[in-house]
C-alpha cells in the first residue's frame, strides 16, 4: 500500500502526522513534507496510515492499493 498527499490540498491540520507519524512527515510549517509522490507504507503501519487519511479535513490524502 502507498499513500499520496495532494500538495495543493494539504493545509497543515496535522491529523495524518498525529495518527501515523511513521508514515507522514511534516516540515517546519507543520505541513506534509512529502507531497505529490507515493509514500510506501509498511504493512504494520497501514491501519494508522488509513486513519490519517480518514481524519484529514481537506481529503488531501489518497490511498493506493497494490
Amino acid at each position: 500500500m502507498k499513500v499520496i498527499v495532494d500538495p495543493e490540498l494539504c493545509t497543515g491540520h496535522g491529523r495524518c502526522w498525529t495518527n501515523a507519524p511513521e508514515v507522514y512527515t511534516i516540515d517546519d510549517n507543520g505541513y506534509n513534507a512529502v507531497t505529490g509522490v507515493p509514500i510506501d507504507v509498511p504493512p504494520e503501519h497501514e491501519e494508522a496510515a488509513r486513519l490519517g487519511a480518514r481524519t484529514c479535513p481537506e481529503r488531501a490524502i489518497s490511498i493506493i492499493e497494490e
Binding site: T11, H13, I26, D28, G30, L51, S62, I63, E65
Partner: protein, 423 residues
C-alpha cells in the same frame, strides 16, 4: 493493477449535485420549531440559534445544502461537509478579501492574513506558521502545564470555581502571550474583554472595542520595533514579510497581522475547554475513563472540538456570479461556511449527534477548511490536552453547581458566559 481510493467525498472541484430547494413541510416545521424559515430566512444572531443550537445545525445539514439569510446585505450558508470543504478550498471563487463576515460594521479594519487571499495570505502564513507548528508548540507544554496549575492553585482549596472566568478565559491568553507573542500578560484581561465585546455586542457598538485593541497593539508593536529581536512571533511581525511585488509589507498590514493573531489566540479555545469541562462534570463515567486512561485525552479533545465548536461559521465573498446547488450567488455576496454544522454531517461522521470521547475516527471542521485553516490549531490542541490532563490530576471529582445553569452566547462564534463547578 493499481487502484486509487480516495476517502469518501473525493469531489475535489465538483460541486455536489444537490439542490437547495426545501419542501413546504420542512419549512412549516422550521417555523413551528424556530419561529422562522431557517432555510430561506436564516439569521445567525437570532437567539433561537443559541437556544436550539444543535437542532438548527442538524436541520441545516439534513435538509438544506445552501440556506439563505436576508439580514442586511444578505448571505448564504453552507452546512454539509463536502460543500463547506468545496467552498473553503476554492479560494479563487470564494474569497476572503472582503472579510470573514457579511454586514461588516463600518470602520472595522481588515485583519490579515485572515481577511485576504493568496499570494499575500501565503507570504504571511509561511512566515508565521513555524511559530505555531507542532514542533514549536511541543516546547510550550511545560509552561502551559505550569500555568494550568497556577490557576488551579488559586481556587482548589475553596471547593468551587466559576470555570469560564477563573480558568478558561485566562489559560489560552497566557499560553499564547507567554510562549508565542511576548505581549505582557498584565494587560490580558482588558484585551480579552475587548475581544469578547467586539464580537458579541450589537454590531454598532463593536468598533470601539476593536479600536482599543488596535491602539494597544499599535503602541506595543512600535515599542518592539525599537528593541532587538528576541526571535518571537511579534518580532517577525514587526520586521514584516516581503510581498510579491518585492516591497515589504506596510506597517498597517503588520499591525493588522498582530491584531489577527491576538484575536485568534484568546477568543476561541475557552469555549471548547468550558463545554468539554461541563461534559465531564455531568458524565462521571467518561471522566473516570479519562482519569484511568489519560492516553485517551487527545482523542477526547478532538471530539470536544467537533461537538463544541467555538467558530460557528466564517464567510467568503464570491468573486463572480456562481451557481451553488441551485442558488444563484452574485459577485460580492457572502457564503458562510458553517464549520459547526459540517462537523455534524452524517456523510463523514457516524452518529454525529452522539458525543463519544473514544470515537476512533474524528473528522471535524472546527479549525476550518482550506488555506485559512486556523493557524493556532496545534497550540489549541496542546492547550486543551494539558488542561484536561492537569485538571483531572488535581480535581478528579467535580460537578455542576446546582441552580447555576450555564449561559451560552452564539453568533459567528459560540461561547459560554459561566460554568460553576463544585468539588
Amino acid at each position: 493493477m493499481t487502484t486509487t481510493e480516495r476517502p469518501q467525498g473525493s469531489d475535489r472541484q465538483v460541486v455536489p449535485a444537490e439542490v437547495s430547494l426545501v419542501d413546504d413541510k420542512a419549512i412549516a416545521e422550521s417555523i413551528a420549531k424556530y419561529g422562522r424559515d431557517i432555510y430561506n430566512d436564516f439569521d445567525i444572531d437570532d437567539p433561537v440559534v443559541n437556544e436550539k443550537f444543535h437542532d438548527v445545525l442538524d436541520d441545516l445539514v439534513e435538509k438544506c445544502p445552501v440556506a439563505r439569510s436576508n439580514v442586511g446585505e444578505g448571505y448564504y450558508v453552507v452546512a454539509r461537509q463536502p460543500l463547506v470543504r468545496h467552498v473553503g478550498q476554492d479560494w479563487k471563487t470564494y474569497s476572503s478579501a472582503r472579510g470573514y463576515q457579511p454586514n461588516r460594521p463600518e470602520g472595522l479594519p481588515f485583519l490579515l492574513p485572515e481577511e485576504c487571499d493568496p499570494p499575500i495570505h501565503d507570504n504571511w502564513r509561511h512566515a508565521l506558521n513555524p511559530f505555531m507548528g507542532p514542533q514549536s508548540v511541543a516546547k510550550f507544554e511545560p509552561v502551559i502545564r505550569q500555568d494550568c496549575n497556577t490557576l488551579i492553585d488559586l481556587f482548589i482549596d475553596r471547593g468551587h470555581c466559576e470555570f469560564v472566568n477563573e480558568f478558561g478565559a485566562k489559560l489560552p491568553g497566557w499560553a499564547f502571550f507567554k510562549n508565542v507573542m511576548g505581549v505582557p500578560i498584565d494587560d490580558l484581561d482588558k484585551l480579552v474583554e475587548s475581544v469578547e465585546r467586539g464580537t458579541f455586542e450589537p454590531p454598532e457598538d463593536r468598533p470601539k472595542y476593536f479600536a482599543y485593541i488596535f491602539e494597544y497593539l499599535d503602541n506595543y508593536l512600535k515599542e518592539r520595533q525599537k528593541q532587538a529581536s528576541k526571535g518571537e512571533m511579534v518580532d517577525l511581525i514587526a520586521a514584516g514579510v516581503k510581498y510579491e511585488d518585492g516591497d515589504m509589507a506596510p506597517y498597517e498590514d503588520r499591525l493588522s497581522v498582530l491584531v489577527d493573531m491576538v484575536f485568534g489566540g484568546i477568543a476561541t479555545t475557552t469555549y471548547v475547554m468550558a463545554d468539554g469541562m461541563r461534559y465531564l462534570a455531568e458524565h462521571p463515567e467518561q471522566r473516570k475513563r479519562l482519569i484511568d486512561n489519560p492516553e485517551l485525552i487527545p482523542q477526547a479533545v478532538e471530539e470536544f472540538a467537533r461537538v463544541f465548536p467555538p467558530v460557528v461559521a466564517l464567510g467568503r465573498a464570491a468573486t463572480r456570479d456562481v451557481e451553488l446547488c441551485g442558488r444563484e450567488i452574485k459577485k460580492d455576496e457572502f457564503v458562510m461556511l458553517c464549520y459547526a454544522a459540517s462537523s455534524r454531517d452524517p456523510r463523514v461522521v457516524e452518529n454525529p449527534a452522539e458525543i463519544n470521547i473514544e470515537r476512533e475516527t474524528v473528522l471535524h471542521s472546527a479549525f476550518g477548511v482550506g488555506p485559512h485553516r486556523c493557524i493556532g490549531s496545534n497550540l489549541a490542541r496542546a492547550e486543551l490536552r494539558c488542561v484536561f490532563e492537569e485538571w483531572l490530576k488535581r480535581i478528579p471529582e467535580f460537578s455542576l453547581q446546582e441552580g447555576q445553569e450555564p449561559i451560552y452566547e452564539t453568533g459567528i462564534l459560540r461561547t459560554m458566559k459561566n460554568l460553576h463547578l463544585v468539588w
